[in-house]
Symmetry: C3
Amino acid sequence: MVIGYLLGDLEYFEMASTTYSSCMMHKGSFSLRSVNCNKQFMCNNYSQSFSVSTDLTHSRLVLSNEKAMKRELRNGIKCLALEVKDPPLYSLGEKFQLDDVIEAQQFDRYTLSAIFEVAREMEKIEKGSPGSQILKGYLMATLFYEPSTRTRLSFESAMKRLGGEVLTTENAREFSSAAKGETLEDTIRTIQGYSDIIVMRHFESGAAKRAAATADIPIINAGDGPGQHPTQALLDVYTIEREIGKLDGIKVGLVGDLANGRTVRSLAYLLAKYQDVKIYLVSPDVVKMKDDIKEYLTSKGVEWEESADLMEVASSCDVVYQTRIQRERFGGRVDLYEEARGKYIVDHDVLKAMQKHAVVMHPLPRLDEITVDVDSDPRAAYFRQAKNGLYIRMALLKLLLLGW
Amino acid sequence: MVIGYLLGDLEYFEMASTTYSSCMMHKGSFSLRSVNCNKQFMCNNYSQSFSVSTDLTHSRLVLSNEKAMKRELRNGIKCLALEVKDPPLYSLGEKFQLDDVIEAQQFDRYTLSAIFEVAREMEKIEKGSPGSQILKGYLMATLFYEPSTRTRLSFESAMKRLGGEVLTTENAREFSSAAKGETLEDTIRTIQGYSDIIVMRHFESGAAKRAAATADIPIINAGDGPGQHPTQALLDVYTIEREIGKLDGIKVGLVGDLANGRTVRSLAYLLAKYQDVKIYLVSPDVVKMKDDIKEYLTSKGVEWEESADLMEVASSCDVVYQTRIQRERFGGRVDLYEEARGKYIVDHDVLKAMQKHAVVMHPLPRLDEITVDVDSDPRAAYFRQAKNGLYIRMALLKLLLLGW
Amino acid sequence: MVIGYLLGDLEYFEMASTTYSSCMMHKGSFSLRSVNCNKQFMCNNYSQSFSVSTDLTHSRLVLSNEKAMKRELRNGIKCLALEVKDPPLYSLGEKFQLDDVIEAQQFDRYTLSAIFEVAREMEKIEKGSPGSQILKGYLMATLFYEPSTRTRLSFESAMKRLGGEVLTTENAREFSSAAKGETLEDTIRTIQGYSDIIVMRHFESGAAKRAAATADIPIINAGDGPGQHPTQALLDVYTIEREIGKLDGIKVGLVGDLANGRTVRSLAYLLAKYQDVKIYLVSPDVVKMKDDIKEYLTSKGVEWEESADLMEVASSCDVVYQTRIQRERFGGRVDLYEEARGKYIVDHDVLKAMQKHAVVMHPLPRLDEITVDVDSDPRAAYFRQAKNGLYIRMALLKLLLLGW
């Protein structure tokens, strides 16, 4: 059913008047006020149907299959506006956000809040409950051009926990077609014939965006080279909200390799979307946070300061976000590396300095930058954080395949 | 239920009279005329049961588990004849064709037509429809001795689209048992204990036939070395029928490396089963079609001619079947290779020469032998062709596991 | 529902009296005599529920989720005793046996008998039967640090035959996190967030025990280095019982490399649990059974003798258990290797010496230590043995995930 396009401000909603009378939506009298929550509509007039769900409580209007709709719109179907009276909680940008998941920047705080709401629902899904079968019949292809078992298993578990099925390629770089010189675009065109959604990890920055530009089905970026790893950024912010209970007004210490860790860079981007956030940057000189992020934080009004004193930062923060420092970054200066490592370890003493409600996070894998005796403290949130990755990925799969 | 063996001409049908009275088939009064379509019969007299489906519309009689039946017959059960009055649409050879899928030559035009009929039904299966669960409980093992992600994913997608499950080995050559010197036969005997059907890709010509000779469950050859890749040949012929609407009387231009491409060789074999087919062979001298195929075509009454003029052929053909030319085939003669490649590229000019109803096909992966600007033309059929591979494989899995 | 802990002698059963009145078990009047077989109980008082099944026929009492229960008990819930009158067939040790499957020694003959009873039920499960869906919604992770396709497929088939789903890692050693230096414990803590049970193969002896000590979910050892491969040992004993009809009083010839084969060592351990067993040890001098096993057998009252005469042993045994002799074990002494191989081959002559009811077993893969002409003899049990691995693994998955 082509019912139109969600404009940026979401204040209205266009609809092809010519299809109006033959739509199931019409039978529902097409007044948003009388529409039940999450009801699905379909129209037989068009070969490709869309489902629309309206949630009057939150005044959200979401089209589940915007790509297909855009195609129909290109075929010249005229649309009319339909006003949505209640102010939206969830403000959609120029582009409907959940066609694809490509980079952390694509999300605004309302979209994040909506994803987190779905993730919380996902936490409640139990074996044998109807929720555990919502993706039955859907097929996800994990197209991994470089291996990342943790991320792959997390996505595959998410899909299967929702009743969906998985096609796996652990090492698509040796994929015979890619090895023979096939373009990424041709591979995507083929794989989309076999699946309903593609989760892709690639060694080149920007590969996910290229794939999304080609594909008719949703693409999720599971990391593209030094570029983006947006689902990690989402699960980090989700974990902060779950553990601390809020995002506005929080104080976060980013610790370790801030120059090369894409995790902390993406996290800084996302935290800038919240109010009264304070960020402490704690790192050896060699791997300090780069200026682009600092300038971005300043431009968004986020307070930040650099510090070399982990203990003092730990006592002030709600979240100590620890990362791994890699020896390679120090070149020949093993002495500097050893000094840096020794200085920024989260151990029992750091825990003692931290507040009762504060937490330690880490994107994992962890080596010795958090000592094992920290694990048993309830403030050690890193394994819960890993588990949250499952719920965030379940939420994204649900949103991309079924919509709201 | 041992009800006998389908003889080659399918004019009668044997049945063990001693088991007659205790069969469910008996309860159905065992007159073919009164039997409902696709009803399944089982008999408790024998440890291993067979299902038989009779489709009176098409007068087809198919036993789903012929291998097991042959075993029972060897045990000496006496069979009686039962006549089937209506002439069959579908003429079975000496051996029931869909025990295994080993080579393109095993199919006659009636079998092909039957497979294509099932493939068209497969195109209509939707998520959540009963058709999407027909293989529920069945387990397919993909035993790939050399990696081929495209083919593997296509089969695994086919199985899962029908509700079946998959056991995957991406690289069975390093399979510990094979590496330790286990024979293919022993591997097959073990794997058939864990699965209901085996899809096998192997580096040695003839491996699929050896596997089928050992296995009690169906084997599908997904490519064995330079030998056969029968499901590719089937999807090619299916695509021609879907795109052009017929197979008798078509004109096909085979372009590129005709000496080494097993795809074009198998396609030529299958096209020879149809009437009034004309084949144009367009290739550099170094990689011309070999004499065995030319002689085969002549012996079957298929008209063929060699041509160096792609443009002229393109203007006459219903199908331009392009293939990749591999540099290795030219040895040190890079100049000849470059000349050959430049001469046989399908680009916008070739498209212009082609008729409105004609199509371009390619087994993929494609490098630069079809230019990217061809992709958006509706006559570019190669991605639809890849998708048809899914339907053909769904059809084969259905036929091998459930029968008609 | 915290109903207490199964003490070692299983003569009583503790229960928190405070939760008594609000338990469903209470509604069932909580007298074991009046409880139906395999009924499940749940209590809403505790966040984590347990299921308990009581089978009065066999007087077994099993808690399906003992790990979780232990956690609750640590929280200090008081338990009361409840007597079980009928003597148990199945005597539980200090620890409930099927929390994890780590080593062959953990099983006593009653546990083995119980597992085999479940395995026999598994043999009867058919496609589409309710039994084929008992693990629906459960997710098994196969975490293989070294590839073993045969074992992996057997476990994955077992899980899928029961309706469960699988997350696969074929080569976890190159697992990015392990490669980056993550500890096994951290990996387990992460993976258990994505799955309900972990089947692990590792290159280090003791790895499975370490994983089990960390995990909150069940661990199955699918082989850890030169250490244990307990599911192979279980399927061997199960096969002997299925083929010969008994375990007490059997005569088993262990043939081949008895020094290095972990299979024969584990089998010897398990056979020692039965009465009047006689073991013949037939091997080249270089790879004789080590003294620890011989002493163990003697201490358990198992009669054993070493012999160099395969033919004589074959004529006395119920089971000839053949294994592969690896050339590497002989160092430079190729002559000794060739002599040993030639001497201990099971061929048609050995078969002729064997009794009618006796069988040949082999853990597979087989090279030339059993000649191919033996395969067609009904006494060649090795492929049935491989198939039994499926049933044993189905039984273990059922017991670990659902309990009795």
